[in-house]
């Protein structure tokens, strides 16, 4: 029943197992998001010499839960001049892919809830492009100039940074000889080193492109509150706003998982159990993003696009060519 990755997932109990797996992954994702938000506020608070949330529950541990409850029971306001159908649909379109990409992330060595998909890395890249529709439609349907500018900026930024992001993965895929994320982890375990060492250039490109793809500082132009009020979600309230935030933080988790899988050896590591290694690596990525947010100012909008196309893309291509040549001559 729990072997649905290798048998057909559409038959009998395999289907039930697949649905149970999806629910469990959703629960894990929601838990991670809740405490990512708490950790972000706490860590940035410490970095800025503040205390951070400490009122709700011990050490403020229930703060995010209180915030979520507040967002869920808030009034759901739809602006009068907005395009009602698209306005209601946009957060759903944005959220669904962010949850679906978690399906291919191998959380641990024995992975009952990870799809053994032969095109895993491509699947991640392909689905994360769908979220752009939600962001863009949300900005457009709000019928608000700041939302529209934020939506357009976001779409342009996410689309252009997806190209170097995808190309930076190709070096790893060449070395592992597979698009399947499970195989990539095992190939790293066999080769004896994590791909961050031979693929350091690819890793740097990936890290920058991932930060931009996640709309986080210093690439948080789509949500520049000081120039755009807030960006594409300025008209959203209540649980629809919560859905956009949930999308963003789920992607933070998923991108951390992707980075850990591709460059840091996934669940492999000495002594500790696999899932704990995976959690440590993902949290290192998430902490790095907090750290960046507390440190960096926002990049200028006219530098943003040229940086992606003129710096990151050539670097990613160079990395790809070097990897291919080395692989051809060394093997």
């Amino acid at each position: 029943m729990w072997d649905w990755q290798n048998a057909s997932p559409l038959t009998g109990l395999n289907f039930v197992a697949m649905v149970v797996g999806a629910v469990v992954v959703l629960a894990i994702g929601l838990g991670v998001v809740t405490y990512t938000i708490y950790a972000e506020r706490k860590v940035i608070g410490w970095m800025q010499g503040r205390i951070g949330p400490n009122r709700v529950g011990p050490f403020g541990l229930l703060q995010s839960i209180a915030d979520i409850v507040k967002l869920l029971i808030k009034e759901d306001v739809v602006p009068e001049r907005a395009d009602r159908v698209l306005f209601l649909l946009a957060p759903v379109i944005a959220f669904i892919p962010s949850f679906m990409v978690l399906a291919v992330i191998p959380f641990s060595a024995r992975h009952p809830f990870t799809a053994n998909l032969a095109v895993g890395a491509l699947y991640y890249i392909a689905l994360s492009a769908i979220t752009i529709h939600g962001v863009m439609l949300g900005g457009w349907a709000s019928n608000n100039k700041y939302a529209l500018i934020g939506g357009m900026r976001s779409a342009a930024q996410m689309l252009s940074y997806e190209v170097p992001l995808g190309l930076s993965l190709v070096g790893v895929i060449l070395m592992a000889g597979s698009l399947n994320l499970n195989d990539i982890v095992e190939a790293q375990a066999r080769s004896g080193w994590w791909y961050i060492v031979p693929q350091f250039l690819g890793f740097c490109v990936f890290l920058v492109a991932a930060t931009a793809e996640l709309n986080r500082t210093p690439f948080d132009l789509p949500e520049a509150e000081s120039e755009l009020v807030a960006g594409y979600h300025v008209e959203y309230t209540g649980f629809r706003f919560a859905f956009f935030m949930l999308t963003e933080y789920l992607y933070l988790f998923a991108m951390g998982g992707l980075m850990a899988t591709l460059f840091l050896g996934g669940w492999t590591g000495p002594w500790l159990p696999g899932w704990l290694w995976f959690a440590i690596k993902v949290f290192a990525f998430i902490f790095f993003q907090f750290w960046l947010r507390a440190t960096m100012p926002r990049i200028r909008v006219d530098q943003l696009m040229s940086f992606s196309w003129k710096v990151l893309l050539p670097l990613a291509l160079l990395n790809l060519v070097v990897t291919a040549v080395l692989k051809a001559f060394l093997s």
Partner: protein, 176 residues
């Protein structure tokens, strides 16, 4: 029933094709251009689901990446950068529309006749299209062993199209 084997993949196929048809009909019956773009995105996603159901995972993922992702976004960009309230005028029976409708019906009848007159190969239901390899490996071997020359020619065509697009866009800018 209906001479079909009611296996789970067949049910999934029927559900997916129903969704594709609904999206396609919505795409042509909506009056607002942005809704049409979204419905076309639904059609692309449905086609990707059919590919994945047939075991062509790589084509399915590429379909989502390029069609549902990039092309639909490009259509939306074009809509947003032009007219905010772009709407089609309501349909009217002009000579041109009637001619187009007759042409469509004829095309449909021809296609149906041609498809029905073919004798399609009957593979076993469990046949492995990937011949024991994972799907991307099978696609890669086919591309680089059997179809190397066509593949390289297609890439040449793409480069020509890319350079052509750049040159066209540049000329437009100089005119202004």
């Amino acid at each position: 029933m209906l001479g079909l084997a009611w296996t789970p993949p067949m049910i999934a196929f029927l559900v997916i094709s129903l969704l594709i048809l609904v999206c396609a009909i919505m795409a042509i019956s909506f009056r607002k251009v942005i809704y049409m773009a979204l419905a076309i995105g639904g059609v692309f996603l449905g086609c990707a689901a059919v590919y994945i159901l047939l075991g062509a995972e790589f084509v399915g993922a590429a379909q989502i990446l390029i069609y549902a992702g990039a092309i639909t976004i490009l259509i939306m960009f074009a809509i947003m950068l032009t007219n905010h309230e772009a709407e089609e005028p309501p349909a009217a029976w002009s000579v041109r529309n009637i001619a187009a409708a007759v042409g469509c019906v004829l095309l449909g009848v021809t296609l149906y006749a041609v498809i029905r007159s073919q004798s399609w190969p009957h593979g076993a239901a469990g046949a492995d299209v990937n011949q024991g390899q994972s799907n991307p490996v099978a696609v890669g071997l086919a591309l680089f062993q059997h179809y190397t020359v066509p593949f390289e020619l297609v890439s040449l065509l793409l480069i020509v199209a890319l350079v052509g697009a750049v040159i066209l866009a540049q000329e437009r800018k100089e005119d202004e």
